[in-house]
Symmetry: C2
Amino acid sequence: MTSDKKLKDILHQYGLKGTTARIIVLDVLVQSQVALSHADILSRIHGEDLDKVTLYRTLSSFVSVGLAHKVANEDRNWLYALLLQNNRRVGIDDHAHFICDQCERIYCLPMDAEDTISVPVMDNGFVIRSHEYRLHGTCPECN
Amino acid sequence: MTSDKKLKDILHQYGLKGTTARIIVLDVLVQSQVALSHADILSRIHGEDLDKVTLYRTLSSFVSVGLAHKVANEDRNWLYALLLQNNRRVGIDDHAHFICDQCERIYCLPMDAEDTISVPVMDNGFVIRSHEYRLHGTCPECN
DNA sequence: GTTTAATTGCAACTTTGTTGCATTATTTGT
DNA sequence: ACAAATAATGCAACAAAGTTGCAATTAAAC
């Protein structure tokens, strides 16, 4: 449990108002090691009730200011994860997504700049500006 | 336009009945250089009308026998593309997906087995079995 | 504290895709 | 070429995830 003041500070750093809804949602995301769906987040909020639309909008605001990013899971629902790794910003291209085919959890894995693929198509008129690497298999929990 | 007989043969090779719906849909997919949505395919069928459910089921049958594969676009709709490159089978891991951020077309780009990323997580209990590389940028049509 | 602008909650709605079931078409064997 | 068995089709109704509009509320700045 991170203190509300600390969470509010993070929101302010990203130019967002420190509303109770956002503090609740940020707290859930900070706690999680995996990307979470709208439903996941709702189920992790016990006492406080939060309108579903507010949650959708809260998550959108996190993404639009770069505090979080979203990944589609295999069912094509959006999952959300912070772009923070022990309080430091993480670039969206600096990690891969690991999808566990057994438990369906999605992990954001750090990846160095050197870990890139060489794609033999640059000379065909395709200009690559960013990427998403989606790795499938089984996660530590399932092995 | 590929001959109906040829298309029917392909369907039979994959253990599918050569129905008119499947021949129509396969013809559209053979023609296309990019992955197509349900709506894309419907709009490319002029005279013949095809029930929307039949189209969904036709596409599912193509995927389940390995004749086609599906990719989610940025709006998380399914796009379909054949796993054939000039009449030869293509493995699902043997290519990357190029998403044009301007026209939103998705291309399947061939990729050699050597073109892999080295992900520094194998020793953490993550076992990788397959992958999807999604490359973003602008395509030849948009440059 | 007041003001102002952003955020919230509610209801209604949209879009994409799915399910059940009766009808029709394709294949196989003769 | 024809009949029987089986799979595919079309229609209607439905499901799930997410969005939009709008009035009420709340956070931040002064």
